[in-house]
């Protein structure tokens, strides 16, 4: 297999990495964090200018037809810089739902708005009782003339407080946890009956809890089949996991580099601490975790677009298990090796640890995916447990 990037992929990587290097130091990030919405609108405009917000969409909708590998490249660079902007929420999640689920008319209207940086979206899927189960949906959508009425509540809507529009999963039929009967509804963030409470997540990004009380949605704003959206949701979730894995690899790369640098700088007992063999072992372990994660993230990106659901899910779950484990391993090592300073707000390494911990829990942590993987017969698919 040839893992070399194509010419366009290399140029994309160069561009994004350079932008991050020039405009997203840890100090810049702290400044952006104090802006009104907790991220930089100016950077969002730069992403639009570079075409990043249009990356995964088809060319006929004003996009660039980028695939999971292109998304991986961007997310990895973003993970290195620990960006705050709602790229994942808008482009990967909501963008994914539009790409795979929306009608031509909906795409024609919304994708240019996203691409130009004029509209931010969020995806409201999690509910207080749902844990990692995307089909566990209690929010209800009831027919009302030629529209729908939504009632329910959604938790941890990533960047829900900055979104102009929110895609809500809601049940039009069936019992909680039934595959059939879930629909996707596009709701304006200021729709009557919708309230949101925004808050910082533990890694310094933003999320919102959302309550829907008799929120009316016109038929034109239903994305796909109102009772059959689950296959789209689960595909997007798999693509999202692949993107998160890439983002985590970016963060891991940085955590490993910062820590290695520290080992080569910090002196104790009159020597660089990196000269102590026990610490060298730890550094090697970090590197091994990083490289295993990188390989699995690449695998997940390649498989994220696989149409065979079980092959796709096996690959994505296996990658997420690796990422979750490495988040802990690399995170703990990097804090340990830094000592006290690694826990301060002023040092970046602790912020990385918090973020990768968050990445572990998004769309299922290592344990959840290990269980899914086991149920699917393991990575090769032939080790099914009865």
């Amino acid at each position: 297999m040839n893992f070399d990037l194509s010419e366009e992929q290399r140029l994309l990587k160069d561009s994004v990495e350079r932008l991050m290097l020039d405009s997203y130091s840890f100090g810049d990030r702290r400044k952006y964090q104090t802006e009104k919405r907790g991220f930089s609108e100016a950077m969002w405009a730069r992403y639009a200018e570079l075409g990043l917000l249009a990356l995964p969409f088809a060319e006929e909708h004003g996009g660039f037809g980028g695939g999971a590998v292109e998304t991986m490249i961007v997310m990895e660079a973003f993970g290195k810089a620990l960006i705050l902007e709602p790229y994942f929420a808008t482009v990967v999640l909501a963008g994914g739902l539009l790409r795979l689920g929306a009608s031509e008319a909906q795409k024609a209207e919304l994708i240019p708005l996203i691409a130009e940086g004029r509209t931010k979206l969020a995806f409201a899927y999690a509910e207080p009782q749902s844990r990692y189960d995307l089909v566990d949906v209690e929010t209800r959508a009831k027919r009302d003339g030629d529209g729908w009425i939504l009632n329910g509540s959604k938790d941890l809507v990533l960047h829900g407080d900055a979104a102009d529009k929110i895609i809500v999963s809601a049940r039009t039929a069936g019992d909680t946890r039934e595959n059939d009967g879930v629909g996707l509804f596009l709701v304006d963030a200021d729709a009557p009956g919708l309230t949101r409470r925004g808050y910082p997540t533990q890694d310094g990004l933003r999320a919102a809890d959302i309550t829907l009380e008799r929120v009316r949605v016109e038929t034109a704003n239903v994305i796909g089949d109102p009772a059959g959206a689950f296959p789209v949701i689960s595909r997007v979730a798999d693509e999202a996991v692949a993107a998160l894995c890439a983002e985590a690899v970016g963060s891991f790369t940085q955590m490993q580099a910062i820590t290695l640098d520290y080992l080569k700088t910090r002196e104790q007992f009159g020597k660089k601490i990196g000269s102590f063999q026990v610490l060298q072992h730890r550094a090697v372990d970090m590197f091994v975790d990083l490289e295993q994660s990188r390989s699995m993230a690449i695998y997940a990106a390649i498989m994220a677009v696989e149409s065979d659901a079980s092959e796709r899910e096996r690959a994505v779950s296996a990658a997420k298990v690796q990422i979750g484990r490495s988040a802990k391993a690399i995170g703990q090592q990097s804090i340990q090796l830094h000592g006290g300073i690694g826990m301060t707000m002023e040092h970046s390494v602790g912020h990385y640890f918090k973020h990768v911990t968050m990445l572990d829990t998004l769309f299922g942590d290592a344990e959840h995916h290990l269980r899914r993987l086991a149920a699917l017969g393991g990575l090769s698919g032939d080790q099914r447990m009865e």
Binding site: E7, E8, L11
Partner: protein
Amino acid sequence: MKLLVPVKRVIDANVKARVKADGSGVELANVKMAINPFDEIAVEEAIRLKEAGKAEEIVVVSIGPAQAAETLRTALAMGADRAILVKVDELVEPLGVAKVLKGVVEVERPRLVILGKQAIDDDSNQTGQMLAGLLGWAQGTFASKVEVAADRARVTREVDGGLQTVDLKLPAIITVDLRLNQPRYASLPNIMKAKKKPLDEKVPADFGADVKAKLKVIKTEEPSSRKTGVKVGSVAELVDKLKNEAGVL
């Protein structure tokens, strides 16, 4: 008017360069390479001239190994129109580069050649000047501002202790300094367009140029590492140290 911008593929400015074990040069195996930062500024300036309607076509040229095509693609993705790769596997010294460029100039007939003031790998700072010499053209080096009119160019140069403005008759050579502009990032639309732009491959002989090395590298060494500093208590103490320890006053 046509602009020619020579771009060199060099070790990425963010990579810490290491000397090869045998001291013959800098280790380049598995090292990230990039377009020379000054050349990026030169490309940007050319694009701005084109955007301002002062130029019609931007040709970028690189003399180097096959991988220098990547550097050319980077320039095309920024907005250059066409690229020429003059393939040479050995390192080419500034005089060799200038001779090839002279040949390219004779074929392409640009009104302006915009180069970087120096390539950050060997910091020669010679190619532009040598090319001007070989062609007998006017030169404005270390440009921090460039204004182009019909057949003249005004170049503001960064010189020790101030700025100097020279007025050049075209055709001319300009070499650019750091503060001339802030180069753009290649955007996705431009990356996609770059794919379709022509990139011609040539060899030095096509331009009748001899690129054989004339210099011999005797040895390459890492700079000695910086000693830790000391904090001084007063200006008087600083002056005393500068005088008596550093011997610079």
